[in-house]
């Protein structure tokens, strides 16, 4: 990474101590610095190589660094800017990763790698995963498993042939709130009655295409070597057909996977509409709406999925599972997670007294205590005028039942832990390649339905790799 001609004056991560020293020795936090007790042993150290240190790779890196006995020994990315970020972050945590541009060198150079995390653009998932599996590594691969069904099928086959674990990054399947909803609320208590409908949405505001810092462009020859047409497509690969399955894959895959999981079924048909109606310089649709038909054990469930990239529509994203006795709105964000009871349902007092759910008005919805720092701040008049703002904090609504479950970790951490636990012989994968394959079949057919402008059918065998 290059530095600007002059370092910015703000306190950079790189010079916290020196900037603190500007204020004299008294600024140092000595009384607060105490060696922590070592975390309880979580098993042997697992050596990990990361392929892809872009936005998603960084999220996984940050989450994995909170798991004991995980050591990153290599960071691979074709963009030095990303690679440098990963190296610097890991060194702060005492890791000493070797940097690589080419994953093949990484795999041949470091035989001691136990696991590989693949967080590259979707069109590379199959190549990176298959090579890592064949090199004897276990693989955690980000969703969507692949941008093609053929690619996904090859990954499942390689995992089977090599006997290595392949976890796909549908991290909701390890989120304790989702697991609780699936296993306890729906699986045991059948609290929603007969499930009749589902919907989910992820709507995002208009965003600019990603740019590149000056002088950080990857040379064209290198881009071509790794399959990218140019820097713009490398940075904005999600919008281009060669590299990605489009928004239904990028945003929809997580939530459509929840349809399959919560309903315990694969769909038998999908009807979809969408288009490239807003952004003129992209290839993929910028909006898609799909209607699935799921034949579940208790009857037909129609599930609607909507993804917009032109409006945040008030913000938030969630999945909604609806039954004749109640509805579950669930999201990675607990603010959007609630249970609603139908008037015709038996009272839920039993579930409350059993501790299965929490009555409205208690739990996390309670108002936070008043703290001295939450004060109105005076405005400084600026050269560039800014509208007046009020420091209002969000407060959860209290109108619905809650789950007594807190996600006490980074959002992706439980899914990574599940992967590492499986490697250590503790439990099975929550989202193995077979699950990722079935989800990919479910998701990618939407694009076909949009193009065909008609309902498309699935055969049960389509979901088997």
């Amino acid at each position: 990474m290059t530095t600007s001609p002059q370092q910015p004056p703000g306190l950079t991560r790189r010079d916290f101590l020196s900037a603190g020293a500007k204020l004299g020795a008294a600024i140092l936090a000595a009384p607060y610095i105490v060696r922590a007790a070592a975390p309880q042993e979580a098993g042997d150290t697992i050596n990990v190589g990361l392929i892809g240190c872009g936005e998603e790779g960084r999220v996984l890196l940050s989450a994995a660094l909170k798991i004991p006995n995980i050591r990153f020994v290599a960071v691979c990315d074709i963009w030095p800017y990303n690679r440098g970020y990963g190296e610097r972050l890991l060194k702060k945590f005492g890791h000493d990763p070797k940097p690589y541009e080419d994953y093949r060198e990484m795999l041949s150079d470091i035989p001691g790698i136990d696991a590989v995390i693949v967080a590259t653009p979707d069109f590379m998932h199959a190549e990176h995963t298959n090579a890592s599996l064949r090199a004897g590594k276990h693989v955690y691969c980000e969703k969507l498993i692949s941008n093609t069904v053929e690619g996904a099928r090859s990954m499942v086959a390689t995992a089977r042939a090599t006997g290595r674990f392949l976890q796909i990054g549908h991290q909701r399947r390890s989120n304790p709130r989702y697991v609780y909803a699936h296993d306890r609320l729906l699986g045991q208590a059948h609290i929603l009655g007969r499930i009749t409908a589902a919907d989910a949405q992820w709507n995002r505001a208009v965003t600019e295409d990603l740019g590149c810092p000056a002088h950080q462009e990857i040379p064209e020859a290198i881009l071509h070597k790794y399959g990218y047409a140019n820097m713009h497509e490398f940075r904005n690969w999600r919008w281009f057909r060669k590299y990605s399955g489009g928004v239904i894959s990028d945003l929809g895959a997580h939530q459509i996977d929840i349809f399959n999981w919560m309903l315990g079924a694969n769909p038998r048909s999908v009807l979809a509409g969408g288009g490239r109606d807003y952004y003129t310089n992209h290839e993929w649709y910028d909006n898609v709406t799909a209607i699935y038909e799921f034949p579940t054990k208790t009857g037909i469930v129609r599930a609607v999925y909507q993804v917009e990239t032109t409006t945040s529509a008030g913000g938030g994203y969630h999945e909604y599972i609806m039954g004749d006795e109640g509805a579950l709105k669930i999201s990675e964000n607990p603010k959007y997670t609630r249970l609603y009871r139908e008037a015709r349902a038996p009272e839920w007092d039993k579930w409350v007294s059993d501790g299965l759910i929490i009555r409205p008005g208690t739990g996390e919805g309670a108002l936070p205590p008043v703290k001295p720092w939450e004060k109105p701040r005076p405005k400084l008049s600026m050269v560039s005028k800014s509208d007046s703002t009020v420091d209002v904090r969000e407060t959860a609504e209290l109108s619905a039942w809650d789950m007594p479950v807190v996600l006490d970790k980074a959002i992706h951490q439980p899914h990574l832990e599940n992967f590492f636990d499986a490697m250590r012989g503790k439990g099975s994968l929550h989202s193995p390649g077979e699950v990722g394959f079935a989800t990919a079949v479910t998701v990618l057919k939407v694009n076909d339905a949009v193009a065909a402008r008609k309902m498309l059918m699935f055969a049960p065998e389509d979901f088997t790799a």
Partner: protein
């Protein structure tokens, strides 16, 4: 020289980035990258995000530890340092409930930088980076702009904390107003941060963490420092401190300045602000 201005909502306020010297398209992409970092920081530092490091810390039992991210660690180290330096007139753990037998004045949380670990020493830890997190974010965002080769920029959070990088070519600094009415003065900030603290709503008050009582000051206080994270935290400390304490702090720390509003609207200046140091 053209200026391009961009806004983004985060941490329950509006952040603004003004960039000079680049075409708008490039400036927009650089600002967008800074805002992406801001959103990530909010997810890691906000008390109100269930899986954030701070929310996780606040659920710890006494003696228990968690691994935290590097930004949470750095921000907490700075917060702890400012708490020490200011005699706890700024205290990110104010509101914590001490464990029985906890020594008076001993920290209610400890940090192990090598292990990126935070340990609670409280019966109920209540960390809140609300008075420092926005400043920390501004510094991080300034760093991102530096990576993008953007030298001339001015960033602010909610208009109450400003971080000025290099001014536009030909300008002495980014103009920022301090005080009101006839006493208003304009500073030209360069490579420096300024933050205001005060009570804008009648009847509200700020608590002095040392006593648990309402702070005596009822008018505004400003802090000037070489980093936004410090200006942000120090403005709160200065509001809580008595005037002589502010003067003594500024005398000890040459890089810091303070402005305290008097009842007649005039400003009492200390340290770097009294010296007319607007940065550089």
């Amino acid at each position: 020289m053209t200026h391009a201005s961009f806004r983004h909502e985060a941490m329950a306020t509006h952040f603004e980035v003004v960039i000079a010297g680049h075409d708008e398209s490039y400036a927009r992409q650089a600002a967008a990258e800074a805002f992406r970092v801001l959103d990530r920081l909010e997810a890691e530092l906000s008390l109100f995000v269930e899986s954030s490091d701070i929310a996780r810390a606040n659920r710890l039992e006494e003696g228990a530890s968690i691994a935290v991210g590097d930004d949470a660690l750095q921000c907490l180290l700075l917060a702890a340092g400012v708490a020490e330096a200011t005699g706890r007139t700024f205290d990110p753990a104010y509101g914590s409930v001490g464990a029985p037998g906890h020594p008076q004045g001993a920290p209610v949380f400890t940090l192990d930088p090598a292990a990126h670990a935070l340990t609670s020493r409280a019966a109920r830890l209540h960390l809140d980076l609300g008075a420092i997190g926005k400043g920390y974010a501004l510094d991080r965002m300034g760093e991102v702009l530096g990576d993008w080769g953007v030298a001339s920029a001015c960033l602010n959070s909610g208009g109450s904390t400003v971080l000025a990088l290099e001014p536009a070519p030909g300008s002495a600094g980014w103009a920022v107003g301090l005080g009101e009415g006839g006493w208003r003065r304009e500073l030209r900030l360069r490579r420096r941060a300024l933050s205001g603290s005060g009570v804008a709503i009648k009847g509200s008050h700020l608590v002095d963490p040392r006593t648990g009582q309402a702070a005596r000051r009822s008018l505004r206080a400003w802090a000037s420092a070489p980093a936004a994270v410090l200006a942000d935290a120090l403005s709160t400390a200065f509001f809580v401190m008595a005037d002589p304490e502010v003067a003594a702090f500024c005398a000890k720390h040459a890089e810091v300045g303070a402005a305290l509003a008097r009842a007649d609207g005039s400003l009492e200046l200390h340290g770097a602000l009294a010296a007319g140091d607007s940065g550089g």
